[in-house]
């Protein structure tokens, strides 16, 4: 990576949240620690803190999403910010000129933060390069590149159950090639010092040279899941069946779908995660999704606390010293 880290301001504080790649271990711990304190806001009679009162946040979704958008919206509201939801359809003809015009318009409305989801890798970086200096950008998923808030809520979930990352083996299973969640998780797990990160899938769904990101590659579930502490199942888009990548859902489920039978190879206390929405019977069996190893619903509720922490941090509403005390 060349050039300066555009995610940090000149004091090294988080200014934008675009990718896990490029962030330090202390910074990820800071996010996790703040999320922990926000997790209790939910349980109060008044579910709000005034940290972002008077701030305006725009959810810019160039790709449809209900779950992610909703959790960002809830997180913003619990921080007392005003939130605009904009679903912008990207037709084949809409190119940069339209995108940068959209950004100008929103800047004119005095927005302080853009939460961006876009179908193309690098979109969040591009938008960051285009916005006025006072605006912060949070990446809510860009193409196949990264989905860093999802990775952080998954790290939060793992930490709740497993505490120490340095002793863990984590397997990420399925369509790594098209998955922004996988890329963010690989970076996050490695930054946090995870003992071993594995990916499991057929060659057709694993990008070439992905091992350089710090993973071990497996092509079959029995050996790949052996003695792992955490299993992350990825959603398999149904359109992947149409090309030359996979023969059928049935065959995929037989080979890579997570069943209780296959889960026996993992550690007894292994947890099963999934970023959602689930394709039951394609990548995961209902018995597992609803079973005792599954923490899938916890992931969803952690999403709000994590996004509150990140939003407050990029707006400079939490300072580092405060955090140091917390760690003690």
């Amino acid at each position: 990576m060349t050039g300066k880290n555009i995610q940090l301001d000149k004091n090294g504080n988080l200014k934008h949240f675009l990718s896990i790649e490029g962030l330090s271990q202390p910074l990820l711990h800071t996010i996790l620690n703040y999320a922990e304190s926000f997790a209790t806001v939910d349980k109060r009679p008044v579910k709000k803190v005034p940290l972002l009162r008077g701030k305006t946040i725009a959810n810019l979704f160039f790709e449809p999403s209900t779950r992610t958008r909703t959790t960002f919206e809830l997180a913003a509201k619990r921080l007392s910010a005003d939130i605009l939801n904009l679903n912008i359809s990207t037709s084949a003809t809409s190119k940069g000129e339209i995108l940068s015009d959209t950004l100008r318009t929103l800047e004119a409305m005095h927005c302080d933060m853009f939460v961006v989801r876009h179908a193309n890798s690098g979109a969040a970086h591009y938008i960051t390069s285009q916005v006025a200096p006072h605006i912060s950008v949070i990446n809510a998923g860009d193409g196949r590149h990264e989905h860093p808030t999802q990775a952080m809520l998954d790290m939060f979930t793992i930490k709740q159950h497993k505490k120490d990352f340095t002793k863990l083996s984590v397997a990420i299973v399925g369509d790594i090639l098209h998955s922004r969640v996988a890329r963010s998780e690989i970076h996050a797990l490695n930054v946090l010092g995870t003992n071993e990160v594995r990916i499991i899938g057929p060659h057709t769904l694993i990008p070439k040279e992905i091992e350089k990101l710090g993973v071990h590659i497996y092509h079959d579930m029995n050996s790949g899941l052996k003695d792992v502490d955490v299993v992350v199942m990825l959603r398999l888009q149904r359109e992947r069946m149409r090309g030359a990548l996979l023969p059928s859902e049935d065959e995929y489920f037989k080979r890579y779908g997570l069943t209780n039978q296959k889960l026996k190879h993992a550690k007894k206390d292994a947890i099963v995660m999934h970023p959602g929405p689930i394709n039951r019977g394609v990548e995961i069996d209902s018995d597992v999704a609803d079973g005792k190893h599954s923490v899938i619903l916890q992931q969803v509720s952690h999403g709000i606390a994590i996004r509150m922490a990140i939003m407050a941090m990029v707006m400079g509403q939490i300072n580092r010293d405060e955090n140091k005390e917390k760690k003690k």
């Binding site: 995108l99 690098g122 979109a123 350089k212």
Partner: protein, 425 residues
């Protein structure tokens, strides 16, 4: 117009010319390379002290964006930019709008070349109508109109039968075929080299096999059809290897490489720099080193700018939906000299690759310094510095991937047919 160029060092490796020598021009031709002819009374004296005089550069591939894409550039802007790098001859690919598949479009290009009068323009005609890869273009009529070769530009021909017949037909017209070798299906709308960088950035990837399978298919068809083929813009180590082996086996093919692929790798994409979105893609350092090896051992005999100017908006978007191509024409010479300064190739080789060798590939009578021949010349100062600033490019396209680079070798004068078309004075 009579011009004398005095005190300069002439350098033309194809004529083993490498010495301090004056040069005298009259009526568009070089009239003497030794002493001043009797009664020669120059209208202009160019003092080339401490400078080097080269043949005018020959660029195998540059898009001038006319007709059809005038918002990206035009003959006036792009040829002036070319002259600033000493370029006086340019071959243009047929992917204009309309496509160069009728004599009328060829005539339009010749007319624009005459009007601007900044370079000799050599159009390549289409290999198939509208470059669709279905029906043969009127190659004979295109040749009569002035096309020096045929090509399907960046458009792959999926149907191998059509490709075979197109080769046979081009051969019977005695036309060379210029092939950009990429299997469109394997490339699969990719935007970056398949490897660690595309894996990390999540960019749709172009595997090496997109290039090597396309090259292999063409090589096998050459064996069968005996057509003359030039491979445009090699990008991978394996591609260099395939061409090297074919040449050893006696297949008469030639190949070039784009200047970008000699200097940059996929690492330069960094945080999605869309100016590094080019076709063929920037590959890795091993590939770059092999491309250099290929130009050293003559597997690759020419370097082109592959100039593709774009308007700002074409590059202002998330990486994969930007348009591919880089604005490079005005830095072709200093970028070649940079390879010499880094000891990757010799000065003589660097100059051949952008003068006599591409001229040979095009079959044109340019790219050398000889008495009684066209006075197309480039004079440069090897000690002057150039700082590339994308905001100060002469080309309409500001999409240079070399922004901020410091190079040496500023062109001071460019002459086309004995007339000064560019000077910094």
């Amino acid at each position: 117009m009579r011009i004398s160029i005095e005190n300069g060092k002439l350098l033309d490796p194809s004529n083993k010319l490498d010495q301090k020598q004056d040069l005298f021009i009259a009526d568009g031709k070089i009239v003497s390379l030794e002493k001043k002819p009797d009664g020669f009374n120059p209208d202009l004296v160019i003092n080339a002290k401490d400078k080097i005089v080269l043949p005018g550069l020959v660029d195998l591939c540059a898009r001038l964006r006319e007709p059809g894409f005038e918002k990206k550039g035009n003959f006036d802007s792009e040829l002036y930019a070319a002259n600033s790098s000493g370029i006086t001859s340019i071959s243009v690919p047929p992917d204009t709008t309309p496509v160069i598949d009728t004599p009328a479009v060829v005539e339009f290009i010749h007319q624009r070349a005459r009007e601007t009068n900044r370079a000799n323009i050599f159009p390549l005609g289409a290999l198939t109508q509208k470059l669709k890869g279905e029906q043969l273009a009127e190659m004979y009529l295109l040749k009569e109109a002035g096309c020096i070769g045929v090509s399907n530009a960046l458009n792959a021909i999926e149907n191998t039968e059509v490709l075979r017949r197109a080769f046979e037909y081009a051969n019977s017209c005695d036309l060379s075929v210029f092939i950009y070798a990429e299997d469109e299906k394997i490339a699969n709308n990719g935007v970056a080299h398949e490897g660690a960088i595309s894996a990390r950035l999540g960019l749709p990837a172009i595997p090496e096999t997109a290039e090597t399978i396309a090259i292999s298919r063409v090589l096998l068809l050459i064996e069968q059809t005996d057509v003359r083929v030039h491979f445009c813009h090699l990008s991978s180590a394996r591609a260099v290897d395939l061409i090297r082996t074919a040449k050893k086996q006696g297949i008469e093919v030639t190949a070039d490489v784009s200047i970008c692929n000699l200097h940059l790798t996929d690492m330069d994409i960094a945080d999605y720099d869309s100016n590094c979105h080019v076709k063929p893609p920037l590959r890795n350092e091993r590939d770059r080193v092999e491309l250099i090896e290929g130009i050293r051992d003559d597997t690759i005999s020419a370097v082109c700018s592959d100039h593709q100017p774009h308007e700002i908006n074409a590059k202002s978007a998330p990486f994969s939906i930007t348009e591919p191509g880089a604005s490079t024409i005005e830095h072709l010479l200093p970028l070649m000299l940079h390879l010499v300064n880094r000891n990757e190739i010799t000065l003589n080789r660097a100059i051949s690759l952008i003068t006599s060798e591409p001229a040979k590939i095009l079959g044109i009578n340019r790219g050398f310094i000889e008495k009684n021949k066209h006075a197309d010349l480039c004079i440069y100062d090897p000690n002057s510095n150039i700082s590339i600033d994308k905001n100060n490019l002469l080309s309409s396209g500001k999409n240079t991937p070399f922004n901020g680079w410091e190079l040496q070798g500023k062109v001071t004068h460019t002459l086309l047919n004995g007339e000064v078309v560019f000077s910094i004075d």
